[in-house]
């Protein structure tokens, strides 16, 4: 996934969030209006409960506002610092290129003879302790979280997901599968599940204490699906 694709994904995510927010507010306003039109009184107890829930939510998510009286010039200076920090943090959070430039700047200014360059993630190097040696043709990376998950898609919209286990485990849905088989792939135990037109394979590497979860739509043969797991290379 290159920078343009990553930014496109962020844009779509943000745009959908905006659309959803507008939709939710419009629906809420319509419901409120309908409620008022029907003259259905809301009980005090119910309103208190709602208010308490809303208060609890915002108490968790908003810092306590402190009211200090400052001189105008200090206030202006503080606001400038805050805005710069927010802009910097936002840019740092959303732009990998900006992060890398910042890190490189720090390295350059601190070490005269350091020659380290941080570069954007290469699609072929998604996980620190393993490598996907083979993927079916035409699948391209569409979503990625470093060392956690990678989502691939082919031109027909079929999805292939690879999740690296963390915090000790992965949830596996074994309820009512079409079939389920225990396998051994390159010395590692694995469970293959076929359910609701999708393949699901969980591969364990006890030596590295690692679990890999692969899910794919039924758009390839079982042999091709298993080959994805067979070609995973673990780094010792």
């Amino acid at each position: 996934m290159n920078t343009k694709e990553a930014l496109q994904e962020q844009y779509e995510d943000a745009y959908l969030a905006l659309l959803m927010d507008a939709y939710a507010r419009e629906k809420a306003a319509a419901l409120l209006k309908e409620c008022e039109a029907n003259d259905e009184a809301i009980s005090d107890a119910f309103e208190e409960k709602c208010t308490a829930a809303i208060d609890a939510y915002f108490r968790k998510n908003q810092p306590v506002v402190r009211r200090f009286r400052l001189r105008k010039i200090l206030l202006a200076a503080a606001m400038t610092v805050v805005i710069v920090c927010v802009l910097f943090t936002t840019a740092f959070a959303f732009s990998e290129r900006f992060r890398n430039m910042t890190r490189n700047l720090m390295i350059e200014t601190q070490e005269q003879y350091t020659d380290i360059q941080i570069q954007e993630t290469d699609s072929s190097d998604l996980f620190s302790d393993m490598e996907l040696g083979w993927l079916p043709p035409n699948f391209t990376l569409v979503e990625y979280e470093p060392d956690l998950t990678a989502l691939f898609e082919d031109p027909e919209g079929h999805l292939l997901s690879v999740l690296r286990g963390y915090n000790g485990g992965i949830v596996i849905d074994t309820e009512d599968p079409d079939y389920m088989r225990e396998l051994n792939i390159n010395g590692n135990d694995a469970v293959l599940i076929y359910k609701k037109n999708s393949y699901h394979l969980t591969l364990t590497n006890l030596r590295l204490d690692l679990i890999v979860d692969i899910i794919c739509d039924d758009c390839m043969t079982e042999e091709e699906f298993l080959r994805i797991a067979e070609e995973i290379r673990f780094y010792d």
């Binding site: 745009y15 959908l16 659309l19 507008a22 939709y23 989502l151 999740l163 949830v171 899910i215």
Partner: protein, 85 residues
């Protein structure tokens, strides 16, 4: 909360408002569960893990479902826009 929240508060141009109206039509046509997924992800900001727990499926399956819904939503809005030009 205001009595009437208009689209003007969110979308400055007529093109954006038109896109929103198409999105609203799409939302109204989705199933209850699909709508719930979008609410949970984009309004309530639940994590994939929390959503998976609510809907009793794996985190990865949930990620794939949301990805499909997101893509379908964006495509519907944008495709119709292109058709209209």
């Amino acid at each position: 909360m205001k009595d009437q929240i208009t689209q003007d508060e969110y979308f400055a141009g007529e093109e954006q408002r038109e896109e929103y109206r198409r999105f609203r039509d799409l939302m109204d046509g989705l199933s209850e569960e699909e709508r719930a997924l979008l609410y949970e992800k984009y309004v309530f900001r639940l994590s994939y893990a929390e959503m998976a727990e609510r809907h009793q499926c794996t985190e990865e399956a949930m990620r794939m479902r949301v990805y499909r819904l997101r893509k379908r939503s964006i495509q519907t809005v944008k495709t119709k826009q292109e058709d209209g030009i």
